[in-house]
């Protein structure tokens, strides 16, 4: 039943997006370097949208499978991790920025919102209570700073004929893992997406974090032994410093 509904939604959505024109946009920087001092960043997005439309930007990471435990009451008293759930198609990150609150942007706004995005997340077992679980998942991800929905950071500029300039700074959380991300730009008019565009952004580790990650993931044993030895040496060094202090 739900699958069928989803299918119909997809059928309706396809021609709509096919009809929409392309938004020309620039994203800067075009790649995110995660170095030792990385502490979140912001990316500037700018371009042209059809005159009279509102703008929504979405920064998303590749969808992944997430295994979770649902908490429930055991013996009606104690909260426990109960049954295991498999969520599929959960974007690592999903930041939505819009000129006006999405709730005021009609049907398209609803689809672009986190709640709208969550409709495409699959849950195993099939009988799970989506109405309860999806908001909980969003709450968890919001708490981690990985999901966000906000308005006001997009500035609409001067009109250029039938188009209008826009620009925005989207702040990217510090909790970012390397991988492929996309920035999608939607122009919304009368509750419908009239134009859209996509830009890819690659986030990669550079410098010391890149070397450490390489060692940790490709030479685990060596990394573990190194980590232990350095910990022991640091512990010894501090112990000896304390001893010599005491001697004086």
């Amino acid at each position: 039943m739900k699958r069928a509904a989803l299918f119909i939604v997809l059928l309706l959505a396809l021609p709509a997006s096919a009809l929409a024109e392309d938004v020309m946009a620039q994203v800067s920087p075009e790649a995110i370097d995660i170095g030792a001092l990385y502490n979140g960043t912001s990316i500037a997005v700018s371009g042209l949208v059809p005159e009279g439309s509102q703008v929504a930007l979405r920064f998303t990471g590749a969808p992944e499978e997430v295994r979770m435990k649902q908490k429930g009451k055991f013996l009606g008293l104690l909260w426990m991790n109960m049954n295991t759930l498999h969520f599929s198609g959960v974007p690592k990150v999903c930041l939505v920025e819009s000129t006006a609150p999405l709730g005021e942007m009609g049907e398209a706004g609803g689809k672009l919102s986190l709640t709208g995005m969550a409709q495409s997340i699959g849950i195993e077992p099939a009988g799970a209570d989506r109405g309860m679980l999806l908001p909980e998942l969003l709450k968890l991800k919001r708490g981690e700073g990985l999901y966000r929905e906000s308005s006001g950071a997009i500035v609409l500029g001067a009109a250029r004929g039938a188009a209008r300039e826009f620009s925005a700074n989207v702040s990217i959380p510090s909790r970012l893992s390397p991988g492929s991300y996309v920035v999608e730009i939607f122009a919304v008019k009368d509750g419908r997406v009239v134009a859209q565009g996509v830009k890819n952004i690659e986030a990669k580790l550079v410098g010391i974090p890149a070397q450490l990650a390489d060692l940790a993931f490709n030479h685990g044993a060596l990394y573990g032994i190194f980590a232990s030895i350095i910990a022991i040496l640091a512990g010894l060094a501090i112990g000896i410093v304390f001893q010599s202090k005491e001697a004086h």
Binding site: I34, G35, A36, L37, Y38, N39, G40, V66, R67, M68, K69, Q70, K71, G72, F74, L77, L78, W79, M80, N81, T84, L85, M132, L133, E136, L137, K139, L140, G143, E144, G145, S174, R175, L176, S177, L205, I208, P209, A210, L212, A213, A216, F217, G220, A221, Y223, G224, I225, A227, S228, I230, A231, I232, A234, G235, L236, I238, G239, I240, F242
Partner: protein, 315 residues
């Protein structure tokens, strides 16, 4: 106060404030130096609150404890508080017990409801251990005040005659000079194994089960217990760090290094503070700490969680 330097942790996949992590390490190291516990039960939840994924928090904490317990063991060695022979026996028992514990937890997980059993075991163990220690040390503190100074060791022998007789009946009795006790090596091997099983099931280092075991069942003096416990934890955590690095890639070395510089410093200061306290004072403080942790876990079991979902793999 806080130094505005954020550092990105490649394995945790997040950045943290160096000063905050350093301070956290220092505070936990202090406790570790005073009581001879690893402090994982405090450190891991606080790291999770700072935005570190649970699995990475637990594994990096083990790495950190390697440094802190090296520093702590060194400080206690100097104070003559480490019974190496006893420590090695407990360690060997602990490793064997840990292996058995891991198998038990696998079976429990397959049967379902493992988490329930883990949490209940946790609360019961902490409640029993903390409660007993608290009452016992309170009584002996009162006694010490009443009768100027009584030879408490003799009294203890009378109290546990059954266990004492059992202990004396075991073969290969030997002297443990540092601890000033005489017993069969089978006893620490077996008790170490038992703690190993429990700590593997509960997913903790086992410091605060091991400490009471050494005090009450092995009859070691409290100060030697603290030093020997740290000695033992050092090796347990090296094992965990290497295993986690190989199989789960969850050790964040940068995080561990900042933590351990803080905690190694804390452990040194802790060892000195501990020396100033009497055995009974140490016991009652540790008992209080254990009870606080017990109530915290009990509260988590009873209160409605903020989010009704939890990642699998975390503790």
């Amino acid at each position: 106060m806080s130094i505005p330097i954020e550092l990105y942790l490649p394995i945790a996949g997040n950045s943290v404030n160096i000063a905050a992590v350093f301070g956290l390490g220092g505070a936990v190291g202090l406790l570790s130096g005073i009581f001879g516990v690893g402090g994982g039960f405090l450190m891991t939840p606080l790291l999770i609150m700072m935005g570190i994924p649970p699995t990475v928090a637990a594994a990096s904490d083990s790495n950190q404890i390697v440094g802190a317990s090296t520093s702590g063991t060194l400080a206690h060695l100097r104070l003559g508080n480490v019974d190496v022979k006893m420590g090695v026996l407990l360690l060997v028992g602990g490793v064997l017990g840990g292996t058995v514990g891991v198998e038990i937890i696998k079976i429990l997980r397959q049967m379902g409801n493992a988490d329930f059993l883990i949490n209940i075991t946790y609360v019961l163990m902490l409640g029993l251990v903390g409660g007993y220690m608290f009452v016992e040390s309170l009584q002996s503190m009162k006694k010490a005040k009443a009768e100027a100074k009584a030879p408490s060791t003799q009294e203890k022998h009378v109290k546990s005659s059954a266990f004492g007789r059992f202990s004396a009946s075991l073969p290969w009795q030997m002297e443990f000079k540092r601890s000033g006790v005489r017993m069969s090596p089978l006893l620490p091997l077996f008790l170490g194994g038992l703690v190993g099983v429990l700590s593997a099931i509960m997913g903790v280092g086992g410091g605060f089960i091991m400490v009471p075991v050494m005090v009450y069942l092995l009859r070691m003096p409290m100060h030697v217990v603290v030093g020997t416990s740290l000695f033992q934890i050092l090796f347990t955590c090296i094992n965990v760090t290497v295993m986690q690095s190989i199989f789960n890639h969850t050790v964040d070395f940068v995080l561990a290094l900042i933590l351990l510089i803080g905690s190694a410093l804390g452990a040194q200061i802790g060892a000195k503070i501990g020396k100033k306290l009497h055995g009974d004072q140490l016991k009652i403080l540790l008992a209080t700490l254990v009870l606080v942790v017990m109530f915290k876990i009990l509260y988590e079991l009873l209160a409605t969680p903020n989010v009704l979902l939890a990642y699998v793999g975390g503790h």
